[in-house]
Structure formats: C-alpha cells, structure tokens
Symmetry: C2
Subunit: 334 residues, 2 copies
C-alpha cells in the first residue's frame, strides 16, 4: 500500500508537520531535517497526494480542457500543444468532450466536483454560454478560439476572424477574379459569422466583383465537398474563400472530380494552415492561424489567473498571414 506522510514521519522520527514542510515550497525546514525526511521518503517510495493537499491549499493544479471538436484534424495539434504547455507548468489537463452536451450548468457542476483550478474552453463552435457559465461561477476561464465581442467578460484568445475574412477577400481581388465567393462552415458558429462579415465587408469595396456566399453544415471534408458539388451544378465562382482548411480540402476534391483545374479553373484559399494543408497534392494556399502562439498564450493567461483571479478580462488576438501555395494563381502585378 502507498506510503503516506504519516509513515514517513514515523520512519524519520519527526513530526508530520516536518515532513509536510519538507515537501512544501517556501516552507521553513533545516537542511538536516530535510535530508532525514527525504531519506525516509525515498526508502518508502513516498509521493505527496496532490488531492489531499488540495483540500488545504485549494489548488489541484488540474485544468479542465474542454472541447466539442474531435473531428477537425487541426484539433489533434491543438491537444498536443495544450497538453505540452500545461504539463510544462506542472498543470494537468482533465479532458472533457462536450460534443453531445447542451447544458452549461451540468458542465460547471462537473468541473466544480473535481475542483479544477481553471478551465480552458477550446472551441470556436461551442456556445459562449459555456465559458460564461464558468466565469459566473467564479472559475478562471479562457475561451480559446472564442469571440470577444460576444463575451467581453471572459478572457478570449484567438485571431481576428473578421480581418481574416478581409485578407482572404483581398487575396482573391488581387488575383483579378471577377466572381468570388465565401464558402463557410456552420452558419451559427461565431468563426463563420466573423469570417463571412470580413469577407463581405471587404468585397463591398469592390463593387465590380460579383460576390456570393454559402455555408457547409459543419467544418468537415464531406461537408465542404458536398457544398462544392452543389455549387458546381448551379453557380460557380472563379475563386473561393473556404472557411477553414478541412472544408477547403473537401472543396478541392469536388473540383478535381469535376475534371477542373485548381488554380487555373477555380482558385481556393483556406484558413488555419493545418499540417495537411502543406501536404503535396493538397498544397493549399491558406491563411495561417498561429496555433502555437494562441495556445501558449491561453495557457499563460490561465496560469496568470490562478494567481490573480480578479484579473481584468482581456482579448488576445493574433495576426494571421497568407501562406502562398498552389491553389491560387499569381496576383496581378499592378
């Protein structure tokens, strides 16, 4: 059976308090005592129980890592990055899949049960009600990929999706396209709405360019492909801004199946620059969302909130860049 602090105290012939102080950062203990305790602890294979100590300290060092997105390939990178960044700080992610959840309160109650020190909501499609509910319960919370304007009292880390929509529009205009279109993800998602808004706003400054739009029903290959197949039968633009890379890949697939050439017949620009976008044969021109920075910043923010729970809510938006690959033709030289 696992050794406890009491066992170590008995073996070292000291008080339990001495043992505790030996393993508590910043506590006062003499070098001689420390050595004696460490020796006994080692002999017994003792390891402090983080959960027992959390009762007194109020800290578990666990962070709820919440997502409803387990199908978009970029989220594998997201989880990789989050786990690494949290682990580096001695924080532990309690992973929660909210793909089938509709009630914010039940999520809050579960997090409270496990006394997580904070919560990271990693989703652009989960209702803002979720991060708001955590905050309302007084939990430190960061909404990664969320939208600041909808939830000004919650810390948000991500990109300016409106600006990305603008960037995409500008990229298509620069290619001299006369008919461009937005092909978005789920219409209700804040990311879709912002990207659409940015795109349409920028295109409004180019009245000579025909602009249309439509939505896929989710951020997936199949949804992108199906929507493009529909468009190819009705109203085909010269170039498309697809709401994200996995949509773009589905769109690319449908275009190729129709015997058309990308970028010569139809141009494409995606968003995210997930690993697959750079794969040969895909070679997607896209707008790079700096996932690494977004995640490191999210973790930095949650860690800061552990020390300062009243920290004033902030939005950290990272700039995006167009990554030129093979799905858009060269820009016109002015």
């Amino acid at each position: 059976m696992a050794a406890t602090l009491k066992d170590v105290a008995i073996r070292a012939g000291v008080s339990r308090s001495a043992v505790s102080r030996t393993f508590t950062d910043g506590a006062s203990v003499s070098p001689k005592m420390r050595k004696k305790v460490k020796k006994a602890a080692e002999e017994l294979g003792y390891r402090p129980n983080a959960l027992a100590s959390s009762l007194t300290t109020g800290r578990t060092k666990m962070i709820g890592l919440i997502s409803n997105n387990f199908h978009n390939p970029i989220f594998l990178t997201v989880f990789d990055r989050f786990t690494r960044a949290l682990q580096e700080r001695g924080l532990r992610p309690l992973l929660v899949n909210l793909s089938d959840e509709t009630d914010p309160q039940s999520s809050v109650q579960m997090m409270r049960q496990y006394s997580v020190d904070g919560v990271i909501v990693a989703s652009s499609t989960l209702s803002p009600d979720f991060s708001k509910a955590f905050r309302d319960w007084g939990m430190p919370v960061v909404h990664t990929f969320g939208r600041h304007a909808t939830n000004p009292h919650v810390h948000v880390v991500g990109i300016d999706n409106v600006e990305c929509g603008r960037m995409a529009a500008r990229a298509l205009v620069a290619r001299g396209h006369k008919h461009v279109a937005f092909l978005g993800g789920p219409e209700k998602a804040t990311s879709t709405q912002d990207r659409y808004q940015g795109f349409m706003t920028e295109m409004a400054m180019h009245p000579k360019v025909k602009t249309t739009y439509s939505f896929a029903n989710q951020y997936s290959f199949e949804a992108g492909r199906a929507e493009m197949q529909r468009l190819l039968r009705s109203d085909t633009a010269e170039a498309y801004f697809c709401g994200d890379d996995v949509l773009s890949i589905g769109v690319l697939s449908a275009i190729q199946d129709a015997g058309l050439n990308v970028p010569n017949d139809i141009g494409l620009i995606g968003l995210n620059d997930m690993e697959m976008a750079g794969w040969a044969n895909i070679d997607l021109t896209t707008i790079r969302q700096p996932i690494g920075q977004i995640i490191n910043s999210s973790v930095e923010l949650i860690a800061a909130m552990l020390d300062d729970p009243e920290r004033y809510p902030e939005a950290r938006l990272f700039p995006c860049d167009v990554v030129e690959r093979g799905t858009l033709r060269p820009a016109l030289t002015d």
Copy 2:
C-alpha cells in the same frame, strides 16, 4: 465561496453524516431526511467534492489517458471515442502527453500523485516498460494498441498485427502481383514488427513472388512520402502494404507526383481505415482496425478492473477486415 457538506448540514438542521449518506449511493437514509437535505443542498448550490471523498473511498473516478501520439490523424478519433466512453461511465480522463518522456517511473509517480483509479496507455509505439511500470505499482492498467506477447501480465486490447500482415500479403497475392513489398512505420514499434512478420511469413508461402521491405522513420505523411520517393528511384514493387493509412497517403502522393497511376501502375493497401482513407481522391483500400470496439473494450476492461484489481490479465484482439476501395486492382478470378 462554494458550499460544503457542513453548510448543508447546518442549513437542514441535521448531522453531517446524514448529508453524506444522502449523497452516497447505497447508504441508509429515510425519505423524509433525504428530502430535507436535498432541499438545503439545492438552496446552497452544494455539490460533493469528488476529491475530498476520494480520501475515504479511495476512488477518484479519474483515469489516466496516456499517449505519445498526437500526430497520426486517427488519434483524434481515438481521443473522441475514449472521452465519450469514459464519460458515459462517470469516469474522467486525465490526459497525459508522453511524446517527450523516456522515464516510466516519473509517469508512474505523477499518476500516483493524482490517485487515478486506473491508467489507459493508448499507443503502439510507447515502450511496454510504461504499462509494465504502472502494473508493477499495482495500478489497474490497460494497454490499448499494445502487444500481448511482450507484456503478458498487462491487459492488452488491440488487433492481431501479425494476422493483418498476412491479410495484406494475401490481398496482394490475390491481385497476381509478382513483386510486392512491405513499407512499414518506425522499425522498433511493435506494430511495425508484427505487421512485417505477418507479411513476410505469408509471402514465404509464395516463393514465386518477389518480396522486399523497408521502413519509414515514423507514422506520418511525410515519412511515407519520402520513403516512396526513395523507392521509386531504386527498387519499385508492383504493390505495397503500407504499415498504416497516413503512411499510405504519403506514399500515394509520391506515386502520383511521379506521374504513375494507382492502382494500375502500383497498388496500395493500408491499415486502420481512418476517416480520411474514405475521402474521395484518396479512396484507400485498407485493412479496417475496429477502433470503436477496441476503445469500448478497453474502457470496459479498465472499469472491470476497478472492481476486481486482481483480474487475470487478458488480451483482447479484434478481427480486421479488408476494405476494398480504389488503390488495389481487382483480384484475379481463380
């Protein structure tokens, strides 16, 4: 501040014991008392602290979910399935990324610190020393995608990789190929070794067919692509069994870049049947590893071990099936 059991007891005018019994399954409490306590608890927004109760019960209901694989797209599905299956049983996954870890003992100590009820090691490439170390510490452990023969004292759930190698070989022979090859993942990974063994053993029964092999340095698109580019410059077989789907997609990409046709010039069969294998333009013939069943079974096994830690170690191997798509030509009719 969060209400505690003591607050509820005061408010309901009963003992703390009565409150505890009200929230403890199977404990004796009268309907009248239960109602009174529930009312007070509701008014205070009380929720039992799972970690405090774990000190007495010895159960946190947390399960360590350990992986070192955050780059192979199939693992997004793996995490989706694991989180759902665990959550359905009221278990909570503490996610651990061991991509950069080499010391099993430090992982064990971390898991002990959090008093997880059990550990699921989800990896085909992590050394068996890890799952063995957990077991040696008396923790319930299931190694998903592990190899039984290497670790007979640990519960293993997965597929018979040797048999999959055989199946792949048979599929290529049935196409009448005169030169076939195995293109595997990391040579040291047990999954690679077993798939190779099965493939070569089956091919040994067909001495008239030339058989060669090589290894990519990881299970990734780039690694598969690079190795195929190398092979196209030296020793090209008619058909390949690629160690998994993501390798296959990289291989497919290199073949297409060389202006060759799949399946007419070169045939391919992968392993896993991850979502992307069925994408149009990939349309990969592959061997389906039943991920859903493997994961449900792993979770079922870990749950069973919580009640019976001395449960005799077992290996649960699931059958695989060839999924015919477009990367292998039709079989010869005998």
